[in-house]
Amino acid sequence: MLNPLRSEAEAFRFLVYVAVVFGVLIAIVVVVKAL
């Protein structure tokens, strides 16, 4: 299981996943606000 506090590589992968999830959330919020 991914543990961002185990190594730098896992912390970076965790960051990428968080960025993707928040990117999708931001896109949804921006679209909903524009409607």
Binding site: P4, F12, V18, I26, V29
Partner: protein
Amino acid sequence: MEAAAIPHDGHGESHGHEEHHGPPEANRSSRIEPQLLGMLLFIISEIMIFGAFFTAYFFIRVVQGDPWPAPGTTIPVGVAAFNTCILLSSSVTLHWAETSIKNNNRAGLKAGILSTLFLGMTFLFVQINEYVHLGFAPKDSAQGTIFYGLTGLHGAHVFVGLTLLTIVTVRSFKGHYSPEQHRGIEVPGIYWHFVDVMWIVVFFAVYVL
């Protein structure tokens, strides 16, 4: 005092254990390395601090139902989005630096860590510049207090991260670290990525929602 014992070579006295100087080794009950365990506990405490600030933020927005930002004020979403890209790029360059030293690529290590340092400095500079041009102060409204509180708390973390990165940069240029020994990059790296993750949450809450 075993530590002070002097071995008597040539007298046939062998006790079957190695010569040891200094205090006894600290007991380690955890399977996690001490450096990583320290960073883990530190980051958990950091999450609690940010949690307190987010509680204040959601209190005025959800419980109080106050408008965000305060009436008559604006916050530059575009500039913050640009700054987010800069900070995310710095994590990529830091990962590049760490991957480079693992592959014994010293040039990649230096270029990666220096890029990370400059990107981090740019982020902080843009944020300070944003503060200068915002047109409202923390004392003006509850929204202003929370805005400066949350972004300022994060900015302080970026400053700490930059201090760590400066140390790593100097050590990298002095020839420290190797494919076998690079804990000095790995642990500050975890902290820097954490600061990045926290910024994504701060950006989403403060600028987008």
